[in-house]
Amino acid sequence: MTLSKDIPNGKQSPQTYELANISETKIKNWLIKKLAEKLDLPIDEIDSKRDFLDYSLNSIEAVNLSGELESFLGRRLSPTLLWDYQNIEVLAQYLAAEIIPDSPIPSTERKPAEILPEYYNFELSPEYKQLKLQQQEIEALGLGNPFFIAQEGVVNNTTTIGDRQFINYATYNYLDMCGDPFVSKAANDAIARYGTSACASRLVCGEKPLHQELERAIANFIGTEASIVFVGGHATNVSTIGHLFGKNDLIVHDSLSHNSILQGCFLSGATILAFPHNDWAKLDEILTERRNYYKRVLIVIEGIYSTDGDIAPLPEFIEVKKRHKAFLMVDEAHSIGVLGENGRGIAEHFGIAPSNVDLWMGTLSKSFASCGGYIAGSSALIEYLKYTAPGFVFSVGMSPPNAAATIAAIELLQKEPERVAILRQRAKLFLQLAQERGLNTGISQDSPVVPIIVGDSLKSVILSRYLFKRGINVPFMFYPSVPQNSARLRFFITCTHTEEQIRLTIDALTEELAKLKE
């Protein structure tokens, strides 16, 4: 869009106004006189405190009056003055003050005449009705409820549902740490010693030696000064982003960001902008244009994107962050334990010093066989979070078995880095075979998350159910998790998947997809 103040072929210049300084009383008297004129009323019947609405002035005359006011005052005014301001008094006051408020003064607060049942009976609430409607739609497919299906036993490359075993692609137990005897034993030992809960906030008497050991282990593994663990991965993002940033700040996030990041952004009250997926150049443009309007700026990206399985170009983002003096946060939920030779994540993958990123975030439920999330970074940042982050301070500390399981998983990973290599090799095989068959794997690359994009929502549900019948468990994803036109099946590969399982799966997938097309 181009902005020009030039007027093509302008023979005459538009109306010019001379600035005049006119008092409130003068404006009031003028308004009274004009209104009386337009309504054919004697001046003494115009009440300056009476609502403009009550004068039944037609809308053309109301807007036109603002135009006459413009000539009288010698400056441009909003055409909707008589709708935005309640009466002559208020309008004259505003015009004399020459202060333009952010928003017009609302004249009347509307109140609902009665309190509808949907406001106090949840079953009748529109949100719940909407959910029921969606459930009916899925039910109408006649394929049963695909949600909340109970899985018996440990889930890895296989899972048991009811009494049937399936090849499983629905778990992010990437490194087979969950169910590993070493990890389970650590958790059991912790229960024996501390019981099953921390029983208090860590700040106030909930702290255990295990917690300190865990946070040290995470910081060491990632290569930062310190770390803090939260009891939920989702809560880690919400609480950290929501707490650290505020009104005069800007948060710029990738358009494919996880819900926990968005929730944190909303909570913060900062200005929020999305940049196109992985487009650091666009981010650079946005910040070039806007950086100066804000105090702090946070850039949030993810190591591996959980719906598409691709990796953020971290080195470029670091350059942009440095150029614009911004904070950079990387969510490693799906990349920690997965990327890099030793599973140390995206920094190791790109060979970058961890200190280039201000906030490392990750979850403990994927590669680390537990529950919760962490933030790793400078000691100052972590110290501040430990004393003030609401989701940490006002929450129970991580349960001892959960803490112990994570410590054991990190230890085991350092002992057996080959788990990472096998995972990478299996994921690569899956992707390669899928691509050879011409399946749409989107932008997935170098990651254990491989989507098979089918487009239509219904198609993804049907394909998932067909594979299920053939003994393969893989969930579908559709809008709003992914864009409306790119519904998909999402495959999580783990290091336990065998080559044979993968080949069999790709064969089945190719056949079922071909059937769907017919």
Partner: protein, 587 residues
Amino acid sequence: MNFPEKNLNLDTLVDLVSYRAESQPEQTAYTFLVDGEKEAISLTYGELEILAKTIAAQLQAVCRPGDRALLLYPPGLEYIAAFFGCLFAGIVAIPAYPPKPNRSIVRIQRIIANAGVEIALTTNSVKTNLERCYTYAPELKNLQLLISDRPLSQQPSQWQKPKLDGNSLAFLQYTSGSTAEPKGVAIAHDNLLHNLAAIYRCFQHSRTSKGVIWLPPYHDMGLIGGVLQPLYGGFPVTLMSPLMFLQNPLRWLQAISRFQATTSGGPSFAYDLCVRKIRPTQLEDLDLSRWQVAFNGAEPVDYKAIQAFSEYFAPTGFRPEAFYPCYGMAESTLLIAGGSCQEPVKTQTIQASELQFDRATIGKIEDGQKVRHLVSCGSSIPDQTIIIVDPQKLTQRTEGEVGEIWVKGPSVARGYWQDREKTKQNFAAYLADRQDGPFLRTGDLGFILNGELFCTGRLKDMIIINGRNYYPQDIEKTVEQNHPEIRPHCSAVFSYPIAGDEKLAIAVEIERSYHRAQKNPANSTKEILSTEELIKSIRKVIFVYHELQVHTTLLLKPGSIPKTPSGKIKRYATRASFLDGSLEAIE
């Protein structure tokens, strides 16, 4: 489809935008005068296509083709980009007035419910207004908002061309009927292309045309005539908000003068407003000599207003033959009939008494006879049939007979969204004797003389008593002319049934001065009629001039009679208020 250049086959408006963006990427498509005067922003065809694709890509990520999206924008380039964004995504656009602070949003709520809208495109500032409504309209919270004046996360390259053809719906035009439920006229791409071709031809547009438009871009005339027609013809248009025009009507004519516009227009009231509000000293700098098509439509064309405007603005070089009266409605996309350019406006003087018998008798007018001056709306656009039909018997009437105007042709819309009943009633009318159809029933009354269409009134306003037709405007005029106590243009005549018979009612607003004098007779120097005497007098003149018995006379306070934003009487709404008892007569 006949296209101005070459014999291009375009099926949709998406093709049209892409064609313009390819063949004239650098040409300015739209210029918007932000303040109605100096500050101008503009958009080229190339930029328009990129914006449309970006917004479309954003929509495609969250909507399915065929979904409806509400457009809540102030007039401007963002609105235009969002409109085309919807078309590019295969989403059915619904233009609507954005919510005003302190004003009811019932209309928006009804549209959302009627069209099953789940997403709205809007600007950041409108969003704030919308959020203020959440306390009393909580269902708005469920509306997903796409804020298009902020950076969008999708890129134009992510746009996927949807499968569209002429049959695909482009947008829903909600009509501002006085009845409670808004009706969404479903307009398909082929309706648009047909009507755009017709306008291009009738208005004699060319690549050298230039438009200036202040009409609200949410309605057929502003959107199709003001935004889509320039795109169709590949000529530039300068736009401004209707508020800028109403605030100071001089801005409209200044823009025409400054941008040397050849085509511009509006309803009759706009011309009238210019005459009333623009001072003779302000004419000096205006040059209206290049104005070739001064279209005048959307409400009955008032011959007096045309004459007054032509005379008043003669010093600016305005040519009376530029006036272009036309007739149309959203149900038929936009234009149904229009005159021929370069020719003076055609008029017809007819005997008012003959209209009672559905006859438009011309002949000799004797002294003292009641007459009506009617302005011709021209003839039918190409490939379309207009017939005049007896609204009760549904049989065709002949030349010079008055009846309901029926239309059949490719510009007639698909029907009302999700309203089979009303669609059948209005869009699928058949002649009783010939089974010819389906026709669109316009609800307007008129006649055809020498191939020219004349409109005489609204069918639903028509009063039929004892088999005779009465036009309410004739009776209102009689009453107003004979009673200085009654405000001019502030009376409504209608009929209502009592025990199976139609009875006449008249509601009039009395002058404030009369009302005051009534309350304090002591203050008045003149003798004043009592209200009983006034009512008696009204009954008398109506009987004398029209031989009609008045059953009910209501004297109302000023401002009581419902009117359109441009000040036209809403007779049907007045009747409805009367019947539900909400019209308050003064003591």
